[in-house]
């Protein structure tokens, strides 16, 4: 057989088998993810309440979206979401860097501690929420007890007080996800080149100086990835809120995701819930696309 012909036949076969390998997932994703998202777009244009015995769906155009702009809870939950995302991500980046530096050495103890620090992020967020809820309990909880010993009285417990609920929920998230930042930054630290440090040492730079002028700038891309990863995850928070405060007291910890859940799954106001979900989807998609652009640039 002619060699060139053999090659081109092989190439066709090759490309076809790639399709065979990719196709099952593409079909699955189209049916299970893409179709529901279009379905959601349709539902969001209807007034559709599951509580209605006749299950009528009335076309209302973009009414549901307009309604979102008049919904006072939307603004509260948007504000809460931003506070939550900012509060968690910023603290986790700072503390995560601390953890990474603290436990970076390849000693047996550091390795041992690092494996234990993986546990929080592998735990079910619901369990984490319930454990912290117990720790925060006003009557029997360990945390209010020690706070009282320090002279700080938190009345109905941190989760029950308007001013403390959000910080208390943020602290739970910090507990669970700071180690993830550590893991990501450690991967970045490990891939740093040695030469700049040696050069700096020869030039008489202190360890602090080489940290500020070499480590931090070189870690910037890793930081950006960690920041965006956590931001996207933080927007998704649900289980922790459900387990601890159910959005309360009042609406002090009602984040967007939780509000959507309440509208859809408690009030069964599906059209409006779908509209809200689509708005959140767009917000997250914009952040995600920025993330992907940053990541794809890192390749080159």
């Amino acid at each position: 057989m002619n060699q060139a012909l053999g090659k081109s036949i092989n190439r066709v076969l090759q490309s076809k088998s790639y399709v065979v390998l990719l196709l099952p997932l593409l079909i699955f994703v189209t049916l299970i993810a893409i179709y529901p998202l279009f379905f959601s777009l349709r539902i969001s244009l209807f007034d559709y309440r599951l509580t209605d015995p006749n299950q009528t769906q009335t076309f209302v155009g973009i009414q549901n979206y307009l309604r979102a702009f008049k919904d006072p809870v939307i603004f509260i939950s948007l504000k809460n979401t931003l506070i939550f995302v900012l509060g968690t991500v910023v603290s986790e980046l700072i503390l995560g860097l601390g953890l990474a530096l603290l436990f970076a050495p390849e000693t047996r103890i550091a390795r041992f501690v690092r494996s234990f620090l993986l546990i929080p992020m592998a735990l079910p967020p619901l369990v984490v929420g319930l454990v912290w809820k117990s720790l925060y309990n006003a009557d029997f909880g360990v945390i209010p007890y020690y706070l009282k010993a320090l002279g700080i009285n938190v009345g109905r417990g941190p989760l029950g007080e308007l001013n403390f609920a959000m910080p208390a929920v943020i602290l739970i998230d910090i507990w669970q996800w700071t180690p993830l930042i550590m893991v990501i930054l450690l991967a970045g630290l490990k891939s740093l080149p040695n030469e700049p440090y040696e050069a700096a040492y020869v030039d008489g730079a202190s360890r602090w100086q080489s940290f500020i002028y070499i480590t931090l700038p070189l870690l910037k891309p890793t930081f950006l990835i960690a920041f965006l990863t956590r931001t996207i995850q933080s927007f998704k928070v649900f289980d922790t809120i459900y387990a601890t405060t159910s959005g309360g007291p009042g609406q002090a910890t009602t984040v967007l995701n939780f509000h959507i859940y309440t509208v859809g799954m408690t009030f069964f106001d599906m059209g409006y819930a779908a509209a809200l979900a689509n708005i959140l989807l767009i917000v997250v998609a914009v952040i995600s696309i920025i993330y992907i652009m940053v990541m794809s640039r890192q390749q080159y």
């Binding site: 076969l13 790639y18 529901p36 234990f116 079910p124 007890y145 360890r207 959140l280 989807l281």
Partner: protein, 277 residues
């Protein structure tokens, strides 16, 4: 670290390490000791951290209830179903994305990254309605399908970067010897990528085992998973922290085993998105 640290620095570092370890381990330690305490002791203040009457009473009580085994069984079914389906769909697709020379196919991997980022409620609302029309609410299938969307997207992403690091030469040698592309994938690429597959599987296991929201909406009393079981025991009339703690121990066993004994694979999964595109 090239320069020597002073002893004051060392003390500060050790102190900070100890504080960090106490902070991150305290809630887990509290949970485990609470599961071993008598009801009256669980509420004692000041809390008994180190010395307390240990008992397996809570475990015996929880294990004497049939529902406990039902929750565990349901969690196992949903987790294994999701993991197997995610790997079957995700591993070949990851290979195709890594090996295809077409730009379009290569860039489509970002689509799977995007899928993972969809807020769960945005997917859940329409999915719930579709499952309701298909009379699949309360089935394992509905939870497995929705979990698999997120987990298979992760597996594709993870495996694509893993396969990209596997040298092509061995597959090409197999192709020259007359093997088809498919058999090169199954007989050469897969065996070389076992660690990547393990990392993907662990990640999938953790996230489907931990899922709460999807199970909350899509399961019936008969298909409830462990997290829902915990909630049931937590909100029952007589709140028993001991029982809640025991159920929670079942829920956290995979997390602890994987973190302590398979951490190399787990970390690989966690940094798959971060280290390379």
């Amino acid at each position: 670290m090239i320069q020597k640290k002073s002893s004051i620095e060392k003390i500060v570092l050790i102190a900070l390490s100890v504080i960090a370890i106490i902070f991150f381990m305290m809630p887990i330690y509290w949970l485990i000791t609470t599961s071993l305490k008598f009801g009256r002791d669980a509420f004692l203040l000041p809390p008994q951290w180190l010395v307390f009457d240990a008992t397996l009473k809570n475990f015996r009580e929880v294990l004497s209830v049939d529902k406990t085994f039902m929750y565990i069984k349901n969690s196992l079914i949903i987790t294994s179903g999701t993991t197997v389906l995610s790997l079957i769909l995700g591993v070949p697709a990851g290979y195709a994305l890594a090996r295809s020379k077409s730009r379009l196919v290569g860039n489509s991997s970002y689509f799977f990254l995007l899928l993972q980022m969809i807020p769960p409620t945005a997917m859940l609302i329409p999915f719930y309605l579709i499952m309701r029309d298909l009379h699949l609410i309360g089935s394992y299938t509905s939870v497995i399908l929705l979990d698999t969307i997120f987990d298979a997207s992760f597996v594709v992403w993870m495996m694509r970067s893993y396969f990209a690091d596997v040298p092509k030469e061995m597959e090409e040698a197999a192709l020259v010897d007359g093997a088809s592309q498919l058999s090169a994938f199954f007989k050469v690429a897969i065996p070389l990528s076992i660690p990547g597959i393990i990392a993907s599987a662990l990640y999938t296991i953790i996230y489907s085992w931990n899922d709460f929201l999807f199970a909350l909406m899509l399961t019936s009393p008969k298909t409830k998973t462990i997290p829902l079981g915990i909630l049931a025991s937590f909100s029952s009339v007589e709140i028993s922290w001991g029982k809640m703690a025991v159920m929670s121990i079942f829920a956290i066993i995979p997390a602890i085993l994987i973190s302590l004994f398979l951490n190399r694979y787990f970390v690989q999964g966690l940094t798959a998105g971060a280290s390379k595109g």
